[in-house]
Amino acid sequence: MIRSLYLLYGAVVMAVLSVAQYQGWSLARMNEVKNVPRSIRDNPGAYRSIYSSYHHYTGGK
């Protein structure tokens, strides 16, 4: 009984893994933004990234 459950579970894991690999899932943290206007190509400075004003110093010992 337990074995059948595990086989089912394993099959699900493998299936999900296959989809993930095919569709290119990744663990990276992303922010999805919609409706970026075409004007950005001419004026890149107008795009306000949520990551701007990054002044976090993380270097050195």
Binding site: G10, Y22, Q23, W25, M30, V33, P44, Y57, G60
Partner: protein, 437 residues
Amino acid sequence: MSTGPTPPTKPQVKALNCPGCGAALTVRSFGNAVTIVCDSCHSILDAKDPNLQILQRFKVATDEVRPLIPLGTRGKIRGTDYAVIGFQRRTIHVDGLPYSWHEYVLFNPYKGFRYLTEYNGHWNDVSILKALPEVHSYGITPTVRYLGETYRHFQTAQAGTSFVLGEFPWQVRVGESAVVADYVSPPRVLSSEQTGNEVTWSMGEYIAGNDIWKTFRLPGSPPDAVGVYENQPSPMGAQTKAIWVAFAGFLLLLVVMMIGFDIIATNKQVFTGSYRYDSNQRGEASFVTDEFDLPGHTSNVEVKTTTDVNNRWIYLNYALINEDTGKAWDFGREVSYYHGYDSDGSWTEGGQNDSVAVPSVPAGRYYLRVEPEGDPGYGVTYYTVTVKRDVPQYSLYGLALLALLIPAVLLTWRTLSFEHLRWAESDHPPIKWGNDE
């Protein structure tokens, strides 16, 4: 000359009649007393009545231990009817403490005798062996082989009869004792019983209390089984091996999948550009790259940044923007590299390169918006941005491996705990895991 076997003596039977009116009587027992009351005239039989005395003395003699299966009960085991004809309690002493179990003798005139043993709610169906098992005394734990199965020594003890009722194939007496050695291969157990003049081997098979209750149609429910018994089958035991075999299968599949996806991954470089960033320069640092195509089905996009930072950092705000749909993936990457020399030797921290995979990006026409940042005063950093379509993501395999591993490990842990409990009661207890008192 022919003298047949002596026929069994016929029992002497007396009836209890009411001395007052001769009517039917009811037997009542309260505690140790047995009283007989007449239903019609309500007179109570004289306590000195010799027949009543018999019932009284009998009750006192048998009250000490009550067989769970009343003597005389019949039940069908392995397709044969048996009657319970005898019962004994046997006691061993371990570290000065007495432990007792119960044995029941079952009888069928054509099939002979069987036994049932019960300890703390654990039952065994026992029969005498006709052939001798092979004893191997070498090694830390002696073993015995019988019918292709190996049994490990569990316990040897001097077992004495402390109470007996009914009939036995030999005339058991209280005080009689034998050296009993048990060898287990769950759910079976081989026991050898040795007195001075005789050694007998028997095999027991673990049986659930509920099955006993069903077989003998006993009222109520069986007593709960306490702890783990020597030959109690592990609820997970056989399954655990099967799970690991399944895991091995999945592992193989994982490797095949990894190779497979590696082969079919496009891994196509769709863009590369080299840039110069001067942190001292004022003005808008952000820029956009040329457009590039992301072909094929929805898959990931690797954005790789290679820099020449040396004891400094650069931060890049990236946005991968779909020119047609306006959808963008916004992320930032810090690239820092430091190195030096101290009392422990030379050290390094970080790296000059970074790569990240943007997940599930549909095909289309894209460009990158890049906004670099750095500490003012650091000066110039040269860096290259490379974009690749559909790269293999190895970290996902690691996650899948973990997911597959965890149930197998948990199950093995439970099985090992069970076995630990089992062997804790034996002559060969495992090393304690926790603290002793």
